[in-house]
Amino acid sequence: MTTDVMEKRTAQSSPLVAAFKHASPIIMGYVPVGAAFGVLAHKTGLSMLSTVLMSLMVFAGSAQLIAVAMFAAGMPPLSIIATTFVVNLRHLLMSASLAPNLRSWKKWEMAIFGYEITDESFAVHSARFSNGDTSKSVSILTNMIAHASWCVASWVGFMTGAAIPDIKPLGLDYALPAMFIALLSMQVKNGLHVFVAGFTGMTAIVLIQAGADQWSVILATLIGATFGAGVESWMKK
């Protein structure tokens, strides 16, 4: 009964108002990271066009910050693209998990929705969907508002980049590690995940110390995920 009433109330309020409500926590997370990305992109020597275009096209915070760091380190484009692929491979799982709720949608609507799946929007939509709120317009509008805020935050960051002589006193170079800390805390579901986190982290460190800087993230992820899946299969037997 109560869920019926709640669903009706959600349906009655304007989709735009509902979308802003769902997007607000996402925006809170995007603003500091997006601004940090913009400042760092400016410091690295990226143009304003490249900076905003990256936020518009790629729309993936961690990958964008890593790409800027790799540009600054003079790494080859192919290695930046390969790292982006591995870093963003986690969206595959999020997309697969949201998919069953989109069965009545048209293909092009799925294509638009899929473009804007991020860690944060995934968290919001999986909560909404499990509450029975599967409104198509609210889903897509929420993503678009969040995406717009990401682009604006990057642009503002780029514009203030010139006024900030050194990012270190502001701790802006900690945006990425802090973001990883938040995301990792949300991912770790049980003891095995903690173990896999430690194991993969140490594997990455060993690889870096062995001189495999560029491929350390990719290799450590493949090794770590295989290790976790192997241990879980073995424990289930």
């Binding site: 540009f71 998919a99 805390s185 993969t200 990455a204």
Partner: protein, 108 residues
């Protein structure tokens, strides 16, 4: 920096980001992935985040750094606690950056 190379890299990044985002939504309208693949994928987020995070906290120039100056490492402890207790993305990022800024001001 060569603008053309940067733009081409962005196009490449877009493609490799978009395909894993959209393929499952489009493909899984009626079926699901094989069980072993789902299991493997379920560890990818934890693994990739750890592979990026731990070296940035523990290493400096490829050697372990447990000194007082390694503010990245010391700021991570309260940030982890806050993230674990509140699940707040904004709070964790703000606390982390604030602690690194403060650490550099007082000890840097």
């Amino acid at each position: 920096m060569d603008e053309k190379i940067v733009l081409l890299t962005i196009v490449g990044m877009t493609l490799v980001t978009y395909i894993p985002r959209v393929a499952p939504v489009l493909a899984l309208a009626s079926r699901s992935l094989p069980e072993p693949l789902i299991r493997w994928l379920s560890f990818v987020p934890t693994a990739v985040l750890s592979a990026m995070l731990f070296p940035s906290l523990l290493l400096k120039d490829a050697s372990f750094d447990f000194s007082q100056e390694n503010v990245f490492l010391w700021a991570a402890i309260p940030a982890f606690l806050l993230a674990w207790r509140t699940k707040s993305f904004f709070g964790t990022v703000a606390l982390g950056m604030g602690l690194v800024a403060a650490g550099r001001y007082f000890f840097g």
